[in-house]
């Protein structure tokens, strides 16, 4: 299947609990839409999905087990975001949405404290290689900590051969490194509650804050020059937004108020707009209507995470999200400076 319209119609049917019609399983798998794929009941992918879920469950358990002393004892204000928490909230299943790490959101001021606590639990900042964990160089740590809103990832061996390592990403803002806008995380993290993942009780954000954090993260992925050139688009991320809204039903008024306070309305609108373009859903349209005043045409028609690097897309939305090679679409748009930035990210991230 190569007709975008057919794909989208099939996705819409699936999302409404109907038969997909034409075979779109390969596309769904490639775009990491595990939930929709599970709805197709395509025998070709049943085993794959079951196996991925088995591994995902084991990985989630290992991650939470490794962090239990932190979750139980820390006085750092934190929230677990994305990963199993998002999977549970959006798809009612903590293991369906496969992720490679556990993301924890904290205030930047607590980054030294969490470093100490994680190191005490045996985590080190490094990368997993064929030869085990190799600690990051100071340059790599500095780059990741100062140029992004994440610290360099923490890794620990588990002793489980099927899931030998646990990775943790510490996020210190919901904005991206390129932005001058900073979120008051002390305030943002007040919007938190607790959730049970398997046997573990952890802190997570309340739905409105969680939805904003999700949109900001996915907006970054849809617009970062480096991430676009590295991974392209992923339909699964629009599924996250769609099914989160459908399942968690964040309050429209509270969502509006919080996004106004954080001055992120235009990014929320962006995510809602394109999610609706895919799913064409009445519930999304209600949220869209509420965020109408935040519509930013420039943002909608371009990519890049800041004014300096923003560029206009020359192709349609579906063409770019289903493109096999986004770099083809980017190559004439990127300046020498952009290419250098991408290269630096490739080396240091």
């Amino acid at each position: 299947m190569c007709n975008y319209s057919d794909i989208i119609q099939a996705v819409r049917r699936l999302s409404k609990g109907e038969e997909a019609g034409p075979d779109i399983s390969d596309i769904l798998y490639r775009h990491r839409c595990n939930y929709l794929l599970s709805l197709t009941k395509d025998k070709k992918y049943l085993k794959t999905l079951a196996y991925e879920k088995f591994l995902s469950k084991m990985a989630v358990k290992e991650r939470y087990k490794a962090l239990t002393p932190f979750f139980e004892n820390t006085d750092i204000n934190y929230a677990v975001i994305k990963g199993a928490v998002l999977s549970l909230c959006a798809y009612n299943d903590p293991y369906l949405r496969v992720s490679g790490d556990i993301d924890i959101l904290i205030d930047k001021k607590d980054s030294d404290k969490i470093k100490k606590e994680l190191k005490a639990l045996g985590f080190i900042q490094g990368r997993v290689t064929d030869r085990g964990i190799i600690p990051f160089s100071r340059e790599e740590i500095l780059f990741q900590t100062s140029m992004t809103h994440q610290t360099a990832p923490y890794v620990k061996e588990t002793g489980n051969r099927l899931c030998p390592y646990v990775n943790i990403d510490i996020n210190t803002d919901i904005m991206w490194g390129e932005s001058r806008k900073k979120t008051d995380m002390t305030v943002f993290l007040q919007y938190s509650t607790v959730i049970q993942i398997n046997d573990f009780i952890v802190k997570k954000l309340l739905p409105e804050a969680e939805f904003i954090s999700l949109c900001m993260h996915h907006y970054k992925d849809f617009n970062s020059l480096y991430l676009l050139s590295k991974r392209g688009f992923c339909l699964g991320q629009y599924c996250d937004i769609y099914f989160y809204l459908k399942n968690m039903k964040p309050s429209v008024s509270r969502l509006q108020a919080l996004s106004e306070q954080l001055k992120v309305g235009e990014y929320i609108y962006y995510c809602l707009y394109y999610t609706d373009l895919i799913f064409d859903d009445e519930d999304i349209k209600l949220y869209l209507l509420a965020f109408k005043k935040d519509k930013d045409e420039t943002l909608l028609s371009s990519f890049g995470l800041c004014e300096d690097e923003r560029k206009r897309w020359e192709c349609g939305f579906f063409e770019r999200i289903f493109s096999h090679d986004v770099n083809e679409l980017l190559k004439d748009k990127l300046t020498q400076h952009d290419l250098e930035k991408i290269q630096i990210n490739q080396i240091l991230m």
């Binding site: 980054s111 030294d112 064929d130 600690p135 340059e139 780059f143 610290t151 050139s229 980017l330 991408i342």
Partner: protein
């Protein structure tokens, strides 16, 4: 703000990182953004690395924000919690000690060594300095086995492991200290050297005047306070430098365990099979070409039908490389397609980078081609690092 040598040093490091003139930084208003002098994300990282090296500090994660270093005013404010900017003496970060009559009383190997209350005061200080992040090193003309025995003294309270490095040999101390400085990549001015011999101290002072020397004289233990005073301005570092340097040495040692890719692969009991593809390999070769971007030299992405057409064509050849190791069978991880003597496609799964498989595949192609090979290279932004792969391996790039 009052000028001093720390600020001069900071400006000089900044100029070095930004690759600009010191005067340009000096003439920048303290509240003006340093981006105009060349402070970018990369020069920022270089600056912080040099700053940490030079002052023996580690900038906290919470301070690693570009804005906190974006103007001279901001960076002085940020650094003021790490460095006493009004202080004019150089920060000390390394203490090198002689052993005999310093770490103990007596000469190891010749007489019983004595660790009494006075010596324990020094050991207590060493422990404090170690915990503060000071790098402790040994430099002695004794024999290693004598020193090892002395550390086994039942009264010894200091663990040998707190010393990041030790030079125990007959070489002159200047050379040994120079080696330590090079190994640790620190400045001479950040070193304090303690010895009981006036000769050695004089020699070091003459050859390396930047090094602060202290005579260990057990008849007057005020020298312990003198050592302590030298490190009083050194900020406490969360980083355990001695540990860090030792870990780095272990890593280097680990690297040396596998000098070549061959040796490493052997340790993994890696087996490879490089052969011409059979018809049943076609789907996997197509999949590899579709999924591979980084080590895909011609940026070729072939459907199964296209691979099949190569397979059926008499002047084309598809060569595949499969691999397995002690962890399991990896299946087909590399493939190349040739048409005549032209390498149309050459790809390797990113799972197996740095294992030397590309050379096995290339050697196989060379052995199968009666004529010198030519290779197609098409930049796809992700394979840039491999642009010279063919030329480095004697293949003409087309």
């Amino acid at each position: 703000m009052q000028e001093n040598r720390y600020k001069d040093k900071i400006i000089s490091l900044l100029a070095e990182a930004c690759q600009t003139e010191i005067q340009k930084i000096e003439s920048t208003d303290e509240h003006e953004s340093l981006t105009s002098t060349g402070l970018t994300s990369i020069s920022f990282i270089s600056f912080i690395v040099r700053l940490e090296e030079e002052f023996g500090i580690e900038i906290n994660d919470s301070d690693l924000v570009f804005e906190k270093f974006e103007t001279l005013d901001a960076l002085y404010k940020t650094l003021s919690s790490y460095i006493s900017l009004e202080n004019t003496s150089e920060i000390k970060k390394c203490l090198i000690l002689d052993c005999d009559n310093v770490l103990w009383k007596g000469i190891a190997g010749e007489e019983p060594t004595l660790i009494d209350e006075d010596v324990l005061k020094l050991h207590l200080l060493l422990s404090e300095l170690y915990n503060k992040g000071i790098i402790l090193c040994l430099c002695s003309k004794s024999k290693p086995e004598f020193i090892d025995d002395a550390f086994k003294n039942q009264d010894m309270k200091t663990d040998r492991s707190i010393f990041a490095t030790a030079k125990i040999n007959r070489a002159d101390k200047t050379s040994n200290i120079q080696d330590i400085i090079s190994e640790l990549n620190i400045g001479k001015g950040s070193v304090v050297f303690v010895d009981d011999s006036d000769y050695e101290l004089g020699y070091i002072s003459a050859s390396m005047p930047e090094i602060y020397t202290i005579k260990a004289d057990w008849s007057d233990i005020s020298f312990i306070e003198e050592i302590k005073a030298q490190f009083s301005d050194t900020p406490h570092s969360e980083l355990n430098r001695a540990e860090l340097y030792r870990e780095q040495k272990e890593r280097e040692k680990e690297k040396k365990l596998y000098i070549t890719v061959d040796e490493y692969n052997k340790s993994l009991k890696t087996l490879t099979d490089c052969r011409e593809a059979k018809e049943y390999d076609i789907p996997r070769v197509s999949e590899l070409s579709v999924r591979t971007n980084q080590f895909n030299l011609s940026d070729a992405h072939f459907s199964e039908d296209e691979i099949k057409s190569f397979f059926d064509s008499p002047d084309s050849r598809i060569v595949i490389l499969s691999a397995s190791d002690k962890y399991g069978d990896m299946g087909i991880v590399g493939a190349a397609v040739t048409r005549g003597n032209i390498i149309e496609a050459f790809m390797l799964s990113c799972r197996v980078f740095d294992r030397g498989f590309e050379y096995i595949l290339l050697d196989k192609l060379k052995s199968l081609s009666p004529e010198p090979l030519k290779g197609k290279f098409r930049n796809n932004l992700k394979n840039t690092a491999l642009a010279d792969f063919y030329s480095k391996n004697g293949i003409e790039v087309i």
